[in-house]
Structures are given as C-alpha cells and as structure tokens.
Amino acid sequence: MLKAIGVFTALLLFWELFCLTQIIPEALLPSPPQVAKAFIELLYTGMPPGHRLPGHALYSLGRVLAGTGLAVLCGVPTGLVLGSSPKLRSLFMPVINFLRPIPPLAWIPLAILWFGLGFASAVYLIFLGAFFPIVLSTCSGVNSVDRLFVDSVRIFGAKQGAIWLKVLLPGAMPSILTGIRVGLGIGWMTLVAAEFTGIRGGYGLGYMIMNARDLQRTDEVMAGMAAIGIIGLGMEYLMGRLAKHLLRWQ
C-alpha cells in the first residue's frame, strides 16, 4: 500500500515538474495544485454553478449501478444456462460473438431513438457494455466446475435448478466476480461517453466534464477525470472486499 502511494506521489511530482518547464501551456495542461483547486471548486461551487460534484457523482453512480445491476441479473442466469448446456451454447454463442464486438457507443443513436435522452438510454448503454463480459465469464466459470461436484448432489436427487443454485453458481463465483469487475469498468467508460452525448437532468460526471470543456476549464475537466478515477478506485476496493468475503473458501 505504502509503495503504491509512493508511486502515485512520484507521478504527481513528475507531472508538477513537467508543468514547471512550460513546454505545454497552462491552459492545456494545468499543474496538480491547479487541478486540486478546481476539484475543491467543483465540490463547493459546481459546474455549471449550483450543480456540485457530489450530485454529478451520485447521478453517474446510480446509472452505472442500475446498468451493471441489470447486466448481472440477466447475464449470470444466461451464463449459467449456456455454460451447462453445450447444445444451447452452440446455438447462441455465434449470436453473442456477433453482438459482442459492437462497441456500446455505436448503440448511442439507437439508444436515443428508443429511449430518448436521459436515464433509460444511459442505463441501456451501460447494460450493453457490462452484459457480455458477465455472460462469458459465468459461462466459462460453469465449465470449469468439476463434474464430480454435480454428481455429488445428483446422487441426492438434485434437479437442474438445485444444481445451478448449490453447485454451478457458487462454483463459478470466482469467474462471475471477475466478469462483474470487467463489466463495471466497461460500464463506467460507457457511462461517461453516454453522458457526453446528452443527459436531460443536467447531472452526471460526463455532462460536467463536457460543460467544463465548453468553458475551456481544463483544470475542471481534469478534476472531473480525477473524480472518476477516485470512484473507480473505491469501487475496485469494494469489489475486492466482496470477493474476499464470497470466496473465503478458496
């Protein structure tokens, strides 16, 4: 932990020293103290004024959690079913492999047409970004579960539903959690881009960064980016704790 903080501090120092050389004008690359000052401004004044950083962050978080949550609710059962049925896998994998490489951002026009500007279209785009990694990780997790474990509950007369709940779901949990982590990351990237294209409510980190860019406040653009990084770190920490708790048997 201390070493990681050391690396982080060293990078900030390098950035500060680079800014002192003034190779890149201050308006394009503000120094770390200027970004920190902008961060505090965003916390108390907001961008646009009155729309403060915590509000933007909460709206963005809500969209990410709703989209990723929906992706987990749909992706985990889909992965469980596909993972345990070679027949269904051979039928549906080509469709998944066709849809998967289409970037979620390419869906933006359709999302706006179908759901309009606002919460639903952002959640839909995040869902698309997070769904496929979760399905594929769950599917591969199910495949890696030792068949002996399945036999050990079939001997007690377990039906397919019980096999999913008592063996395949917990057995695939390490892969599922990896899929959710990847899905959250993609969901977050998708969200900010989706907010660039227009959010009606006037809240969202992507929306805030676009506003700062329009006013040529590079310091606030970078402070917004830092806010995304901090939230990302926090989410990664929470996911790590969750994984440690759920996988304590490993």
Partner: protein, 257 residues
C-alpha cells in the same frame, strides 16, 4: 432404513470411437446385497467397478438389466434412496463442514429444525464439533472422508455405495478410517456396497466379496467372509481367504491377457 440391493442382468457398453467396435464394460452382472450387510467388489484396475457403481447410483444408465431395492424395481435416478461416497472427496469446497453434511437433507426438503438436529447429531457422533465451521481445504484427508461419510449417511439412504473411498489416504489414516467405518456400521447396520482393489480392505470389512473379471466384467466368484469382527489380518483364515482371492484374480487376469 437399510435396504437390500439386487442387480439382474446388468450390461453396459460405450459407443465405438471411429472404426472400433463398441466397448463392452459390464456383461450380465447378477448379484444380491442383503439388507444391513457389507459387500465388497474386488477386481483389477479398469474392470468397470466405478461404472457399475455409477449405474447403481443413477449417474449413468445401463444398456440392459434391472435394479431392485428391497425387491422393488427402480428405474429413475431420483427416489432411489442411495448414497455414494466417491473415490476423490467430492465435498463442495464453498460449503463448511456443517453445510456439506446438510446438503442432502436440504435437497430432501427436510424441515429446518429436523435438519439442524440431524446435522448436529452427525457432527457430534463423528467427532467433528471442532471443525463444523471449517472449509474442506482446511481439513486433513481423513477428516474430509469422515465428512463425506456423514454427508452420505445423514439423509438415511437404504444403500450406501463406496468407490474406493480410502485409496488416497496414507496407511495409518486408512486403518483408522476402516475401524471408524466399521464402528459406524455396527451402530447403524447400513447396507454397504464397497468397491476396492485392496484385498485386505475387502476382507476386513465385508460379509461377502464379489470378485469380478476384467472387461467385460461379470461376477466371477462370490466369496463369503464369516470371520467375526473385529478381524485379525494376521490370522490363518484371513490369509487363506486373501490367497483365494489372489488366485481367482490371477486366473482371471491370465484368461484375459
């Protein structure tokens, strides 16, 4: 409640790969395991012993033949009232000792209080109280097999199948587990069908030893073991029976090189 097990004309073959002929693994197997007895199946490696147990357990289906539990024909895999202990310990790694013992009872949809009481009884009787909250990876090989036995016996199966359950254990632990199994059996009088390639193990435990031939397997000889328990492995009778089984296996091996 211990039940009898009867196997009649059981055959199993696996489909041919490319141009090869289908592989006949079991051919017209017939035998009977009386209720409350221990019967061992002894045979050379690869003689289809595990396949036989998997068919009886309902994990695979036979080509022909029937299976009767307490003289009633059983066809579907569910409702067979059979428990099985596998060669490799198949405890669910994400469940604690207590949760592993409970798994069969949960699937049996037992009321919560009955389930808790039964699990507690097994934990106490099997000396697992100190390990109830531990995960399988935290246990020794012997303890894991104890948990596997408790898990299998908890729902009260009519017939218990054991597929070389102690083969991965060291000598000392194996001896301890054999004594432990006999102690449990003496109290409960379960019907046990025990597969092993260890002749001493089969003679130490069983009321009967079924010697099976190499593939395609059938019952070549039924050897009753009438010595009182606990058995002395150094006794003359024990060693004469041991010699007899070795002779049968050698003869079978020479007949099917």
């Amino acid at each position: 409640m211990a039940a009898s097990l009867t196997i009649k004309g059981l055959s199993k073959s696996y489909p041919a790969q490319k141009d090869a002929v289908p592989l006949l693994v079991l051919e017209s197997m017939d035998f009977h395991v009386p209720a409350g007895s221990i019967v061992s199946i002894a045979g050379l490696n690869g003689s289809g012993k595990t396949t036989l147990l998997r068919i009886i357990a309902g994990l695979e289906s036979p080509d022909t033949g029937s299976m009767l539990i307490d003289e009633k024909i059983k066809t579907s895999s569910s409702g067979r009232n059979i428990g099985m202990i596998f060669q490799e310990v198949a405890l669910l790694p994400w469940r604690t000792v207590r949760q592993n013992i409970a798994v069969g009872l949960e699937l049996d949809e037992r009321p919560k209080t009955e389930l808790e009481d039964l699990v507690d009884d097994f934990i106490t009787a099997f000396g697992l109280a100190d390990y109830a909250g531990k995960y399988p990876k935290e246990l020794s090989g012997g303890l894991r097999q104890k948990v596997a036995i408790a898990r299998t016996l908890a729902p009260g199966p009519g017939v218990v199948l054991m597929d070389e359950p102690f083969s991965a254990l060291d000598c000392q632990t194996r001896e301890e587990m054999l004594s432990f199994l006999l102690k449990v059996w003496a109290k409960r009088q379960d019907t046990i069908l025990f597969v092993t390639h260890n002749i001493e193990e089969s003679l130490y435990l069983s009321d009967q030893v079924l010697v099976i031939s190499p593939k395609p397997s059938r019952v070549a000889e039924i050897i009753p073991v009438t010595m009182p328990r606990p058995r002395d492995k150094t006794s003359l009778e024990f060693n004469m029976l041991r010699r007899r089984i070795i002779d049968v296996l050698r003869r079978l091996s020479e007949a099917n090189p």
